[in-house]
């Protein structure tokens, strides 16, 4: 540690810096540890921008694409998923009402833009198929000469063939390190990243490594400071005297950051964008640090503190010194922003030349000159560089002019071919028209097609889904009874809104007699849940919430002895794991261990690899035989203080009784309750007087009696502190009856289930099962924070079955019949098996109902398996339900399986409304379904809850899939094949990379082609439009999502049964299936006899 010295910076400066760092970190999305994978928008931090601006910003910061490749969209044109009309419709805002004559053909602006998109007129590469033919070469030559002729047209100057160089502008926001790399050809950013990955992966490790980084308790920055003094890589990286410099650094991370920023001359107004770019260099690690710094209760953060300021203190140190070394060596001046700015202003041509040379874009002759200059004594002579730069510039300009003409010729020939006009007539085009045409093409380069394609893709999808919803609802209208007189369903089953539930619901309803509903999978009960034998509690609720109630899983009372065996087994297993881990990671022991124990592991190795299903079932049987599964229940009810005190007193008396019996041999009448209680009270100091009765009964001296009390206090925690800890633990769990009634009422009202309860109402949560899959949590319930939802379902069912809760609900207008029994279950989304739990709570009167429900859940599961296996295993054509199920079970048990299920891939729409709207429609597992009855929500409060939570979570999931698909390398996590788990928090690619964010390629790609269809989420809400509008107006969050183009909103107006699309500018636009000629369509809709595909207004009735 350094000696105290006068402080260089004030407290106000430090706090201001923290504020800038906080703002700079906004652009980086939080990264949750992988064990609770949270689907989120990788551009969440940019949601205050419009979607298109955010995509652009994302490209600048992270280098990620925001749209599929144009070829990919063209594939959808070929398959008919997108029509040419959709493209033209999407182009409307860009289109000018102008036309030109080209080779004797009249062309409108929209025709040119559409051809540019659909046929790729301006795509960069010359197409080999046509350029190869000699006659085409002749045409190309002719067009080329025509374009070069002194008469106009002349190729447009605006044809951008290479990104504009900003060499003459100061590096206002780009980190100096990046500027150096770009201009001097250094690899400083890579070096810094490599160093940061090294320190982050060591510091943020949560128990994966055997050799932990020392000094971590000193915080990230100080631990680095202590260790980096001995790090030899500084010398390798060209920083001399690093140890002394590091020793002289302040112990305060804020001061180190301020020191680096001022040392590099970064002005305060540039701090935020400057630091954002530093964070964006490794968005995974910084996203994780950002998350961890906001979790005061995170056990690792409590001991080993890290935050973005500490991260920057280290990162900027590297930048400052590497930039300094590079600038001194290449340019002969200090690595300071002002010096660099001056250089760029005074020697712009030299700067451009250096950048072109670093990018390998100079001619051989210039390249040779550059190399010579670099090794001469004149390497710091900027005038010589400037002179060479001017030569390079003039050569470059000539080359660009030629390339422009070639591109223009290529475009015109392609356009002629597409329009099937005579290519030899191209040069008959009026020069002014040709210039306009080339201008149109040049100002709409392929890089700008993405947003239009996306809009067209979404229009096509919206038309299809709204058509289906409209026709499905019309069919339902003809044969549904008025719901008020509906008869009692066989059972009601409440599923999560997850897209996978839709498939199961459809098959279950198909069996007849069932009513299914959709509700966010935590069923409205946020809990901190600790499962039996688990070391700590986990929040089971959306990450938007912090649970206020704790629930524990405890063994059923009749399983006392077995529970002890389970506890012992868990301890033994943990000890064995630790031992094995230590033996494996030790320097010497692995050699012996392989010889001694290696054979033992060959059975699971071969079993899991060759016969996964057999191995798992054998292992399960063996495990159940050794240790039968235990029945548990949840601590849903809150225990009052008095009850808890009695419980604790009884527990302590039992402990004292055992001690007294064994040590003092007392039994029978001598071991009276009064004696036990007296001993207990004396141990906890509740009674001062001691008449010697205990000493007499136990035959003790006053000293040994006191020693006995001391032992009780110290070893058995029979002390005031022990009692208070135990009481706190007991009383903080569970829900008071009023709380229970509140949660049950909220859940029932949210989904509109307030009457006509069936005899059985099942809350069906979901979770997934897979082996060797770090991304398993991504397949679990998003509404439960990436966990299985069963505990929430169990808690909800237990509450709703409580008579006291039902009494309260009756007072609030919800009458649940006495014969209605609530149940909890979990749908395994990998195998489609549903396990119903807590069956001991089902009364005998419901035995038959339960049997039927279990059988039907199984039948529906098999049909769901069949439907899903067609998507997962398209080569399996057998169509046998049993084969399908076997194949899916194998996927869940095979440790080499990279795609246990498709998960939430292809999600594209959330429908908030009554099931009658969707019941007749096969939504193909692409739709989130939230039940909502607008007639029961005049205040709009229920819809507000749905729109501010489940809708938001669905949007996160949608955006995670969207960006993981459009750029899997940047926003997704690439192929699973190269993943290595790091620090138990995430995965890296290979041995050193950023923490990979997003979904793996295997989740969203099928081979080389995207499986997920990246469209922004479409929300269809069945509710009065003013109600929806009011809610949006009240919530900046929703305004942002809908007004800035992060999702599309369509209202199904209950009054006129029509769909209206929300448009921030014009409020609501009637949504037509064709989405094209609005006036014509409106007229056609009045006639009511037009074909839907060509534009009939979609109208439905309930």
């Amino acid at each position: 540690m350094t000696q105290p010295r006068p402080e260089k910076f004030t407290e106000a400066q430090r706090m201001e810096l923290r504020s800038y760092v906080q703002l700079a970190g906004n652009a980086i999305a939080q990264y949750w540890p992988m064990r609770t994978f949270i689907h989120h928008n990788p551009l969440h931090g940019l949601e205050s921008l419009s979607f298109e601006q955010a995509v652009q910003q994302g490209r600048e910061l992270f280098g990620g694409r925001g749209y599929l490749g144009n070829d990919e969209y063209r594939r959808h044109i070929q398959s008919g998923r997108i029509t040419e009309q959709d493209v033209r419709h999407a182009l409307e805002p860009l289109v000018l009402d102008k036309q030109v004559s080209f080779a004797g053909r009249s062309l409108r602006h929209v025709d040119v833009l559409a051809a540019s998109m659909i046929q790729g007129v301006t795509d960069g590469e010359p197409d080999a198929t046509h350029q190869g033919a000699p006659e085409d070469a002749a045409v190309a030559q002719r067009v080329h000469s025509w374009l070069e002729s002194p008469t106009p047209p002349g190729p447009s100057e605006s044809i951008a063939l290479s990104p504009p160089s900003n060499a003459g502008e100061p590096p206002a926001q780009d980190p100096l390190s990046k500027w150096c790399d770009r201009t001097l050809g250094t690899t400083i950013v890579d070096t810094i990243n490599r160093e940061m990955v090294k320190w982050c992966s060591a510091f943020l490790d949560e128990g994966e490594t055997s050799w932990a980084m020392p000094h971590r308790e000193q915080t990230f920055y100080r631990a680095w400071k202590m260790l980096a003094q001995h790090d030899l890589t500084f010398r390798l990286n060209g920083i001399r005297g690093a140890a002394a410099i590091i020793r002289s650094l302040s112990d305060r991370s804020e001061d180190a950051v301020l020191d680096s920023l001022t040392g590099m001359g970064i002005p305060k107004e540039a701090w935020e964008p400057y630091l954002t770019r530093h964070f964006a260099a490794l968005p995974g690690w910084t996203g994780y640090i950002k998350w961890r710094a906001q979790q005061p209760g995170h056990p690792w953060q409590q001991i080993f503190r890290v935050d973005l300021v500490k991260y920057l203190a280290v990162r900027l140190f590297y930048e400052r010194h590497l930039v300094e070394a590079a600038c001194r060596s290449h340019l002969g001046f200090a690595g300071h922003a002002d010096a660099i700015k001056t250089y760029m202003v005074r020697h712009p041509d030299a700067c451009r030349l250096r950048q072109a040379s670093a990018a390998g874009q100079v001619t051989n002759a210039i390249g040779a000159e550059v190399r010579r200059l670099l090794h001469s004594n004149d390497r710091h002579n900027h005038e010589i560089w400037q002179e060479l730069g001017r030569r390079h510039d003039s050569i470059q300009r000539e080359r660009e002019a030629v390339a422009r003409t070639q591109a223009a010729a290529r475009w015109l020939i392609r356009l002629a071919r597409i329009l099937a006009v005579d290519q030899s007539a191209i040069d008959s085009t009026a020069p002014s028209d040709a210039a306009i045409l080339l201008g149109w093409l040049a100002s709409f380069p392929p890089s700008q097609h993405g947003p239009v394609w996306l809009k067209a893709f979404e229009t096509a999808y919206r038309r299809q889904i709204l058509d289906e919803l409209a026709s499905g609802s019309l069919a339902a209208e003809t044969d549904t009874q008025d719901e008020a007189h509906a008869s009692r369903p066989l059972s009601q089953v409440v599923f999560c809104i997850d897209v996978r539930s839709e498939v199961f619901r459809r098959h279950l309803e198909h069996l007849g007699g069932y009513e299914t509903l959709g509700l966010a999978g935590f069923f409205g009960v946020p809990v901190d849940y600790r499962s039996f034998n688990a070391g700590h509690a986990v929040a089971h609720c959306p990450v938007l919430l912090k649970p206020k109630n704790h629930v524990r899983e405890i063994p059923r009372s009749y399983h006392g002895a077995l529970a002890e065996r389970h506890k012992t087994a868990a301890q033994v297993t943990e000890a064995a794991h630790t031992l094995l881990h230590d033996l494996k990671e030790n320097v010497a022991t692995p050699y012996v261990m392989v010889e001694a124990l290696g054979w033992f592991f060959s059975v699971p190795l071969f079993g899991r690899t060759l016969l996964p299903r057999w191995y798992h079932s054998a292992w399960k049987r063996l495990k159940n035989w050794l240790l039968p599964p235990i029945a548990t229940t949840l601590t849903v009810d809150k225990i009052t203080r008095t009850e808890a005190e009695d419980m604790v007193a009884a527990e302590q008396q039992a402990v004292i009784r055992e001690l007294v019996r064994h040590r003092f041999g007392l039994s029978g009448a001598a071991l009276s309750p009064t004696l036990l209680e007296t001993i207990r009270r004396r141990a906890i100091g509740q009674t001062e007087e001691n008449n010697g009765d205990v000493a007499k009964s136990l035959n003790l001296t006053p000293e040994t009696e006191q020693a006995f009390y001391e032992e009780l206090r110290e070893e058995h925690r029979i002390s005031p502190r022990g009692i208070s800890a135990r009481l706190e633990r007991i009383t903080q769990t569970g829900f008071a009856v009023t709380e229970q009634a509140y949660f049950v009422e909220a859940a029932l009202r949210l989904m509109g289930l307030t009457s006509n309860f069936a005899r059985l109402v099942l809350f069906c949560a979901h979770g997934s099962t897979s082996q060797n899959n770090p991304f398993e949590s991504a397949l679990d319930c998003g509404a439960c924070g990436g966990n299985h939802g069963l505990p929430n379902a169990r808690a909800m069912a237990a509450m709703a079955n409580r008579p006291a809760v039902r009494d309260l609900l009756q007072g609030r207008g919800i009458t649940i019949p006495n014969d209605t029994q609530f149940l909890a279950a979990e749908h395994d989304t990998t195998t489609d098996r549903v396990s119903v739990v807590d069956l001991e709570d089902v009364p005998a009167t419901h035995r038959k109902d339960l049997q039927r429900l279990l059988a039907d859940l199984d039948r529906a599961g098999i049909q769901t398996s069949l439907e899903r296996s067609r998507l997962l295993e398209p080569h399996m054509e057998s169509g046998e339900p049993s084969t399908a199920r076997r194949a899916l079970v194998r996927r869940s048990e095979d440790w080499a399986e990279v795609r246990p299920e498709w998960g939430l891939s292809k999600n594209s729409v959330i429908i908030i409304g009554r099931r009658t709207l969707t019941q007749r429609v096969n939504l193909r597992g692409r739709s989130f379904l939230h039940s909502y009855d607008h007639r029961q929500d005049s205040s709009g409060k229920l819809l507000e809850t749905i729109m501010t939570a489940p809708l938001v979570v669905a949007q996160w999931i949608n955006m995670e899939h969207y960006f993981s698909t459009v750029d899997n390398e940047v926003y997704g996590s690439g192929s699973k094949v190269y993943h290595n788990v790091v620090g138990r928090v995430g995965v890296m690619t290979g041995v050193s990379s950023d923490l990979r964010i997003g979904l793996p390629a295997q989740t969203v790609f099928n081979g080389a082609l995207p499986y997920h269809e990246p469209v922004r989420l479409l929300a269809v809400i069945e509710a009065p439009r003013p109600r929806i509008r009011d809610i949006i107006n009240r919530h900046p969050l929703l305004e942002q999502l809908f007004n800035l183009g992060w999702m599309t909103l369509v209202a199904l107006d209950p009054q006129d049964k029509r769909f209206y699309r929300y448009d921030p500018a014009t409020e609501w636009k009637p949504e037509h299936s064709g989405g094209l000629d609005h006036d014509r369509i409106a007229a056609a809709s009045d006639e009511g006899d037009q074909d839907r595909r060509t534009g009939r207004s979609t109208e439905i009735r309930h």
Partner: protein, 101 residues
């Protein structure tokens, strides 16, 4: 002594409390889910399933010397996020409780 009232979006709460901790405020009071109207329009209070999007108020009382670092720390934040901050003179009993040792 000065009383500082800070109104911020729920997702900035951790930053604010962290700032108060770092500047040596000895305590603070948080009121969750507040409603009101400001520069960004009307903000709704209580949301059932979303703690991050509602507004919160944080109160603290600090010696005058601490006000500047706190204002410096919140200044840049308020250029980008909705929120407000009020500083008023305040009299307190047990003054020593509000001064960090």
């Amino acid at each position: 002594m000065k009383e500082i009232k800070i109104v911020v979006q729920g997702d900035q709460l951790k930053f604010v409390t962290d700032l108060l901790d770092r500047t040596g405020a000895t305590g603070y009071t948080i009121i969750n889910n507040v409603s009101g109207k400001g520069h960004h329009g009307y903000h709704e209070g209580h949301l059932l399933f979303n703690d991050m999007s509602s507004q919160v108020v944080v109160f603290t009382v600090v010696p005058e010397v601490k006000v500047e670092p706190i204002l410096a720390g919140l200044g840049p934040l308020f250029t980008r996020h909705s929120g407000a901050m009020f500083v008023t003179d305040v009299a307190v009993s047990r003054r020593e409780r509000f001064v960090a040792k």
